[in-house]
């Protein structure tokens, strides 16, 4: 009798739903979830690879996957604060409300950088009080997210717990190896070569991982568009430090960066905003492409 009950309880989730419905805001998080979940999950990404995750149109169609979701994966640290909360409410889905088991905040498992020490003031620009939210650019952070995702999926769907944990462990190890390999490759470059200019303050995790030094930002303050006097200062600093590479994501305007690069005799490296999830891209492939493009530019 007890065995029968147990079987029934175990079989219930499998009967109620064939696959765990997972929705991730960022395509990088969606790619990680797909690798951890394998064929036991169906994953949807709300943000396009080359869409600025700060400014997403909260299209009502995004409510539909949220309405069905068993698990919502968010980046957190207020990255999605400008568009996700009303969609979450409109989804009418208790599983994925903030604090529920089906709500996974990736920022809760990573080491945060640039956590403001004093009072947060908007005169400093669009800064995030909990720390810089762009940690998906560091595969070491991604590795920790993979492990935590494995545990969370195992809790939500115990039938496939073994599979989730095994996939997560394997992905974690692959990402750590990748991170170490690239870190060592960049460390072989002289420190003077590892200087960059960054468009928006979105790459401190990438800089930390690859040992890059940001000599300037093209935006005077996060989220404030560049002004002529500031850009002149950036050029001065680039020339003085002999930094020749400007890094930015695809969704930021490129003209200013291209002009700066031309005047400083350098180049712009445009990074994809995330994995091309809808084309089957993996996180490892995407982050390796980014590291290779930066390495190639720095070694010139």
């Amino acid at each position: 009798m007890r065995a029968l009950l147990l079987t029934l309880i175990c079989a219930l989730p499998a009967v109620a739903q064939a696959r765990l419905e997972v929705v991730a805001t960022l395509p990088d998080l969606a790619a990680l979830a797909r690798e951890v979940g394998g064929d036991a999950v169906a994953v949807t990404a709300l943000v396009d690879a080359n869409e600025d995750p700060h400014y997403v149109d909260p299209k009502p169609s995004l409510v539909l996957p949220l309405n069905r979701a068993d698990l919502l994966i968010v980046n957190g640290l207020e990255l999605e604060v400008g568009w996700l909360p009303p969609l979450q409410v409109a989804a009418r889905n208790g599983n994925i409300q903030t604090g529920a088991d089906g709500y996974f905040d990736a920022s809760s498992v990573v080491d945060r950088l640039n956590v403001p020490g004093g009072k947060v003031d908007r005169a400093q620009g669009d800064i995030h009080p909990g720390g810089n939210p762009h940690f998906v650019f560091d595969p070491r952070a991604a590795a920790r997210i993979a492990t935590a995702l494995g545990d969370r999926m195992a809790r939500l769907d115990p039938t496939h717990a073994e599979q989730y944990r095994a996939n997560a462990k394997a992905l974690h190890d692959r990402l750590d190896a990748l991170a170490e390999r690239e870190r060592a490759r960049f460390a072989a470059l002289p420190a003077s070569k590892r200087q960059v200019v960054i468009y928006h303050d979105s790459l401190p995790y990438l800089a930390d991982w690859l040992g890059l030094t940001a000599v300037a930002f093209v935006e005077p303050r996060p989220g404030i568009p560049p002004t002529p006097p500031h850009v002149a200062k950036v050029l001065q600093r680039m020339k003085k430090a002999e930094a020749r590479v400007i890094l930015q994501e695809a969704f930021y305007p490129k003209k200013t960066s291209e002009t700066l690069a031309r005047l400083a005799g350098g180049q712009v490296v445009v990074l994809e905003g995330g994995a091309r999830f809808d084309q089957g891209d993996t996180y490892s492939a995407r982050i390796t492409r980014a590291a290779q493009a930066i390495h190639a530019a720095l070694s010139r």
Binding site: V56, D57, P60, V89, R92
Partner: protein, 404 residues
Amino acid sequence: MNGPRAWAALVGLALGAALPARAAAPDDPGLDPAEQAALEAALHADAAAVEDAVHPTPVVVAAGAGSSNPDISLVLDTAGAWFSDDPAQLGGHDPNRTGFVLQQLEMNVVSNVDPFFRFEANIVFAEFGVEVEEAYATTLALPGNLQLRAGQFLTRFGRLNPTHPHAWDFVDQPLVNGKFFGSEGSRGLGAEVSWLSPLPWYAELAGAVTNAHQACCARSFYGGDDLGVEDPRDLLATLTLKQFFDLSRTWGLKLGLSTQLGPNPTGQGNRTDIYGADLYLRYRDPGSRGALSLQVEGMVRSRQVPDDRLQDAGGYAQLVWDIDPEWSVGGRYEYVSGVEDDPLDPAWDTARQRASAQLTYYPSHFSRLRLQGNHDRLPDRDDALWGAMLALEVVVGAHGAHGY
């Protein structure tokens, strides 16, 4: 004769303020030791009391700094305006005089209450005082794709009505909203139930029941006359259907149908019906911050009055181009018909037309400066009314996101 008395008061105050300091000085010759000791003891006691009172405060602050604090934001809308003649704006927060105007200072408070409810309030401070514009709770996890909302809220009629001036593309409220609903739009105390359909595209049905009175917010119905509720038909019913279609990666189309049915005060059983349709077509490449959006809204109204049925209609069409994160430009055309012997708007016997153009500059995501020009043809005036407005908006605090 006020001069000497004021001086005396000031001197007295200065002396009073100086007294404790002098008393605390040990070598003060004007006080005997007993007096000095008594004063010092009193000062110590006060200081200790202040310290005791202060001690618990850091604990409260620490708790408040956690995530249990609601998100609170303030939106300040202020403007300078000029009109070629007496202004005739209809919106409660529209600049409506030549000179400076405080359109509103809106305090928005949002928080999840528990796993079952979300709370939202908009409290508006204006030149005339303070009002609770909205305060309601929304359910988060009802079964059957249902959602309930209760409290005071803007009804979901049409596209513009459920939103706040902060989310509008123009400085002022469309004329048809002001004429049919009132200066604050369609708003009331009541309850709403909505349902997300299981269709493969977004289709949401909502029905609300609210009080039918309030001059600001239900003027086609009971308006300023609270005639009470003796029958369910004495309440105001609002029904809406909203649908959204992802036409492509870059184009989105939202369509809405709305109706509002309720009693009017012109006689027993006299009713008002308002029907509306709205369209929002938006182009945006997800890889850029630029966008182009077309918004069209039309409404027809039918009122039973003694011995007659009054019918009028109105609407607006606007095109807004967000050039980049800093600049936006838009144009709007409005048309609202009139009827003879209208008990609400006796002078509005023929159509009123207004054309507007705006240019907006966003120094950051949290501030904007908007210049708008209006050309208004009113039914009861020979000359066109021209208007120009320069409006500043600033937002501080954690402000909730806007819908599509």
